[in-house]
């Protein structure tokens, strides 16, 4: 999917600090019976936001006033583990999140997030502790320098592969790049004799 080119992002933060937040929590499977990627924000953390009767759970952080308008979610370790459902990222993005700051991410979630311009910002424990201590202030995620500026004005690096950074900053996706590799792809197929049946000699 093509995204809006992004260089920096500044927002207040909202905390969901437990470890191992799995994609079944981010969006429960019963909301996966859709053929669209739109409109999934209403189901984000559905069972944590609402009780069985559909009433908002006041104790859940996204239902609090501090969460309104925040585009950066702060989590613990291994955020996005479990199911590969990209719906989890679509739900976060549709709800308004543009970055998730965590101690670590599950591999597939991280991949999915980068493809939808939801920036996975993995920071070290000391920076994470400073961010939590600041209690929900504003952060700036700078994609050009791969650094996050914390509310206490200190800044901390986060890993971002050069090609992913390029895609985010330019607002391009991987598909156009892959299509441009056609000559090499076709050569690989000939070399390994994996041609469609009708093209076999």
């Amino acid at each position: 999917m093509l995204n809006t080119p992004t260089r920096t992002l500044t927002s207040r933060t909202v905390f969901l600090l437990q470890d191992n937040v799995d994609t079944d929590q981010i969006i429960p499977a019963r909301y996966l019976k859709t053929t669209s990627r739109e409109g999934l924000g209403q189901h984000l953390f559905a069972d944590w936001r609402r009780d069985a009767a559909g009433q908002a759970r006041p104790e859940f952080v996204l239902n609090g006033p501090q969460a309104q308008g925040a585009a950066v979610l702060v989590a613990g370790r291994n955020f996005g583990c479990g199911s590969s459902r990209e719906h989890a990222v679509w739900a976060l993005r549709d709800y308004g999140f543009r970055a998730v700051v965590a101690l670590s991410f599950a591999d597939i979630f991280r991949n999915n997030a980068l493809k939808n311009a939801v920036v996975p910002v993995q920071i070290e424990p000391d920076a994470h502790a400073r961010l939590v201590a600041a209690g929900g202030g504003e952060v700036t995620v700078d994609l050009v320098s791969s650094r996050i500026t914390l509310p206490d004005r200190t800044s901390s690096p986060f890993p971002l592969e050069p090609f992913s950074r390029h895609c985010l900053i330019e607002g391009v996706d991987e598909l156009a790049y892959l299509i441009a590799q056609e000559a090499d792809i076709a050569a690989h197929e000939r070399r390994n004799r994996i041609l469609p049946k009708e093209q076999n000699p």
């Binding site: 999917m1 996966l32 939808n116 598909l175 690989h188």
Partner: protein, 466 residues
């Protein structure tokens, strides 16, 4: 002479369509793309929006499994709701438009995507296999490199048959020793995840090695590889051997005659070379293991079934899990009443799993008040099970014998727990609400699940007898 290489490195390197470039991800060719109704529709929409074609429909295979009903088909197939129906018909239309082979609900080959690939012989050693489903790691049991991808990547593979990917690291898991009675492949993998944690293998491809792995049949190796993702791994692999070749020989889409001989010769070159170096390694004593069961809301929260429920010791995540499960630290799990038993899924829905469960059910009755669903992984598994009379054993015991599908593992087809219910499940995830909003899951082997069904409570399969 080239340096010794791992199984993973051999498969990865042979699928690079161009040499690795600095600061760029690798371009990896995909030999087999499996798709299903839930994670493919938005990928096809993306192709359509960009005016692209499916590059290799002949290397793509579709099935229906996640949102499909498993209720008996007497009187027709009853799909749970209009959304599920629309999802299934969208897959059928996409496959028809792009000439992708589809095992639809009425097809004799239909089943869970990770059960049908091996069964049909399309899962082969040395192949790269992807699917928009995290349990694609299952296929690694054959010495394939198989991993789950998101829907954007499904679109990439549909359009180009390739993925951009950073090279993962390697992690050797050596499991030596002979499993004791009533201890199975499921217990092996739960023990590993408990040991290294659900993020223990993030960024790595696991290779399972050692005498305990060599002694496993293919169904069991698939159980182990299936849950690699639950340890955070990108994939899990087992080097192919005679067991692998014996399973594949004669499968509908396996090579035949001279092509078979050539394939086996090439597959014999895949196992990790003597002296190859892994980035990490760990050893597990398989002989020391007891049947395992989870107690929390993460697959790593697993203990020997006769152990007390652990203390959270200040771990807020674990404390929250115990609250959700309504369990008390220090108390035993054994004897705890349960409401539902689910036997099935891509983890434990193959014939040998059902045979194990049937040994426990044979001549016994399900405890009063317990609902038991036995869901074969595919139409083929269902036919094979019925041919040896397993369905009669399950029914006589009072269990439901269902149609194939993911069913109560993901609970999006109408099979689900009710709020507060406890289930012993042979599936792969005990996340909050995974089997239905408010439901509580204990993950275990088919033997342990069947023992719980008979006792109406968590029970040690070693004492129930099977």
């Amino acid at each position: 002479m080239t340096a010794p290489r791992t199984l993973f490195a051999k498969v990865w390197d042979s699928h690079l369509v161009r040499p690795s470039q600095p600061e760029m991800p690798d371009v990896l060719y995909i030999d087999l793309h499996l798709i299903h109704e839930v994670t493919s529709p938005q990928a096809f929409s993306e192709l359509r929006a960009r005016g692209l074609e499916v590059r290799r429909p002949d290397l793509t295979l579709a099935t229906m499994d996640h949102s499909t009903p498993t209720t008996p088909r007497t009187g027709g197939i009853r799909i749970v709701d209009d959304e599920a129906r629309a999802q299934l018909s969208t897959l059928a239309a996409n496959c028809q438009e792009w000439k992708i082979p589809l095992y639809a609900l009425e097809d004799a080959r239909q089943g869970i995507v990770h059960v049908i690939g091996p069964e049909q012989g399309v899962t082969q050693p040395g192949r790269t296999i992807v699917c928009g489903d995290s349990h694609t790691s299952t296929h690694g049991a054959f010495g394939a490199l198989a991993f789950g991808i998101g829907t954007s990547e499904v679109a990439n593979v549909l359009a180009t048959q390739c993925l951009l990917a950073a090279r993962p690291k390697t992690f050797a898991v050596t499991m030596d020793g002979r499993l004791s009675s009533s201890v199975t492949a499921k217990d092996l993998i739960l023990a590993l995840i408990a040991r290294i944690g659900t993020a223990g293998a993030t960024g790595h491809v696991l290779e399972y090695r050692g005498s305990a792995i060599r002694a496993l049949g293919m169904d069991e190796r698939m159980t182990v590889c299936n849950m690699s993702i639950e340890a955070g791994a990108r994939a899990g692999m087992v080097a192919p051997d005679e067991t692998t070749f014996g399973y594949l020989h004669g499968r509908p889409q396996a090579p035949r005659d001279q092509a078979w001989d050539a394939a086996v010769r090439s597959w014999r070159g895949l196992p990790t070379d003597e002296g190859a170096v892994f980035d990490r390694d760990i050893t597990l004593d398989a002989a020391a293991l007891a049947p395992m069961i989870t107690f929390g809301t993460s697959p790593g929260a697993a203990i020997g079934i006769d152990q007390p429920i652990p203390h959270a010791n200040g771990d807020e995540t674990l404390a929250g899990a115990l609250r959700y499960m309504a369990l008390e630290s220090g108390k035993p799990l054994l004897g705890r009443p349960i409401d539902v038993v689910f036997i099935g899924s891509c983890t434990n829905g193959r014939l040998s799993d059902l045979q194990q469960a049937a040994r426990v059910f044979d001549g016994r009755r399900v405890a009063a008040g317990v609902r038991v669903l036995v869901v074969p992984g595919s139409q083929q598994v269902k036919r094979d099970a019925e041919a040896i009379g397993l369905h009669e054993i399950f029914r006589a015991a009072g269990a439901e014998w269902r149609e194939p599908g993911c069913s109560m593992c993901i609970a999006m087809n109408g099979d689900n727990l009710l709020p507060g219910q406890y289930a012993v499940s042979t599936s792969n995830r005990n996340f909050e609400g995974r089997q239905g909003a408010g439901g509580r899951t204990f993950l275990a082997s088919p033997l342990t699940a069947a023992a719980a069904a008979i006792k109406g409570a968590i029970a040690d399969p070693r004492t129930v007898g099977c």
